[in-house]
Amino acid sequence: MKNLKLKSARAALDLSQQDLADKVGVSRQTINAIEKGDYNPTIKLCIAICQALGKTLDELFWE
């Protein structure tokens, strides 16, 4: 299932996938895979993404 919340939160901050990837220390392909729903990130990575985007876990990863 696509994670559109993550994509819109990233776009709201005018960040590209590469920018977000650099902020959380992963590859662009990993961010792309999370947004497309191809990869389920660990809680550690979810928290890092939330901190980078200034959102809570609920806002980005809760259905």
């Binding site: 590469q18 590859s27 990130p41």
Partner: protein, 209 residues
């Protein structure tokens, strides 16, 4: 757990490759009186050298890159090892079945060793690049693609499959192992180009959206 599965897959691949190579050499010694015992040992050493080179390449090129890989890349390494194992087993079994079915087996022990080893090695490189695991070509992709395409083209010429003759000091006989290696190298070169194009398109689409 993933790392354990990966290690088991890689070790199994090496064991199977060595076993099949040894079995083929023994078969070659049995049916071909021209191959001496020392010739057989030489075949084995060549096979071992190719295999050792491949393993050394994999070990040294992936050594210490755990820190550079993120959690998804570490996770998919098991899949890459599995694909390598499956492709090696499939090729080894196909050769074994073909040699059992046909009275005159066209491949020498050396050919068999090359085909099995290089199939495993190139499957590892291709699936590794596709999944961004182990070896992920992050930069100089065009250069790498050119290197593999040139290598593949040279091997294709020397395999004797093309309809022109090489200078007299080269053999013009068809060599299946060289042909297989050329195809694998060409496939890797094309894969690097295609993946590069897809990556660029994805990045561009992301920038535009």
């Amino acid at each position: 757990m993933k790392n354990k599965a990966m290690t088991v897959s890689l070790v199994s691949t090496v064991i199977i490759t060595v076993s099949i190579t040894l079995m083929t050499i023994v078969n070659e010694l049995r049916v071909n009186p021209e191959v001496t015992f020392f010739g057989g040992i030489l075949f084995f050493l060549v096979g071992l050298e190719v295999l050792g080179g491949a393993v050394a390449f994999i070990v040294f090129s992936t050594k210490g890159n755990e820190k550079q890989l993120d959690e998804r890349q570490l996770k998919v390494r098991g899949e890459v090892a599995l694909y390598t194992l499956l492709s090696t087993v499939a090729v080894a079994l196909s050769i074994a079945i073909l040699s059992t079915l046909s009275d005159i087996f066209p491949l020498t022990a050396c050919d068999t060793a090359y085909i099995i080893s290089f199939t495993g090695l190139y499957t590892f490189l291709i699936s590794s690049d596709i999944n961004d695991a182990f070896i992920s070509y992050k930069s100089k992709r065009t250069l790498l693609a050119i290197i593999y395409l040139v290598t593949g083209s040279i091997c294709l010429v020397f395999s004797g499959v093309l309809p022109f003759r090489l200078p007299e000091y080269f053999s013009n006989d068809f060599r299946l192992s060289t042909f297989v290696i050329s195809v694998l190298a060409l496939v890797l070169g094309v894969e690097i180009i295609i993946k590069g194009i897809i990556e660029k398109k994805e990045a561009l689409a992301d920038e535009e959206s």
